[in-house]
């Protein structure tokens, strides 16, 4: 399988850009746009975004997250082995520690996507039935999980790059 690692890496990068690109779309574009549309009483409102855009964006988003993790885990295991998951402790290899920290950040982010964001967004968007109170609670949990992922994406990308290019700071 080693001869296919170049393809795995390319797919990992493609899914990774799709995932984090959509994450930034949600946080920098869609969430503020929906708030503005809801506040604009003379405008068309946020319903069309919720019906036509958000479900499609979430479809690509959550599957890109899964694809990124699977291709990344395979690649990391092939290059660094199990010691990356244990952060290279005792190995004195900055590259192993860096890719391990990046992988764990990505793993937490994948958990947030599938366990916190997607089930709660299904309630918010009306894909599954929920009361107004349940929708409000679901919206807050999904929002905070999404914002947490946006914050974590900064060190996650930094550590992914740092395994080959070194760490900034200090």
């Amino acid at each position: 399988m080693e001869e296919l690692l170049w393809l795995d890496r390319a797919i990992h990068i493609f899914f990774g850009v799709l995932w984090i690109g959509l994450l930034y779309y949600f946080n920098f574009v869609q969430v503020p746009a929906m708030a503005e549309a809801a506040a604009d009483k003379d405008g068309p409102g946020p319903a069309a975004i919720g019906k036509y855009v958000a479900p499609r964006a979430l479809l690509y988003f959550r599957h890109a997250a899964l694809g990124t993790w699977i291709t990344g885990a395979w690649y990391m295991m092939a290059i660094y082995g199990h010691s990356a998951w244990t952060l290279g402790i005792g190995k004195e290899s900055l590259a192993t520690t860096c890719i391990g920290i990046g992988a764990w950040l990505g793993t937490i982010m994948l958990f947030n996507v599938w366990v916190l964001i997607w089930p709660n967004q299904k309630k918010v968007l009306g894909i599954v039935p929920a009361t107004d109170a349940e929708k409000a609670a679901a919206k807050r949990v999904a929002f905070l999980a999404s914002r947490s992922n946006t914050a974590m994406s900064i060190p996650m990308l930094m550590f992914m790059m740092a395994s080959n290019h070194g760490l900034p700071f200090f």
């Binding site: 520690t97 914050a151 900064i154 740092a162 760490l167 700071f169 200090f170």
Partner: protein
């Protein structure tokens, strides 16, 4: 106030986390 409620707070939180983890990574790697 939760810093994650604003884009600015989210980005600052991300960079602070990056700096802290960079320090931790260098300690683990014995640098």
């Amino acid at each position: 106030m939760n810093p994650l409620d604003t884009i600015k707070g989210t980005l600052i939180a991300g960079f602070v986390l990056a700096a802290v983890l960079a320090y931790v990574a260098k300690c683990i790697a014995g640098m």
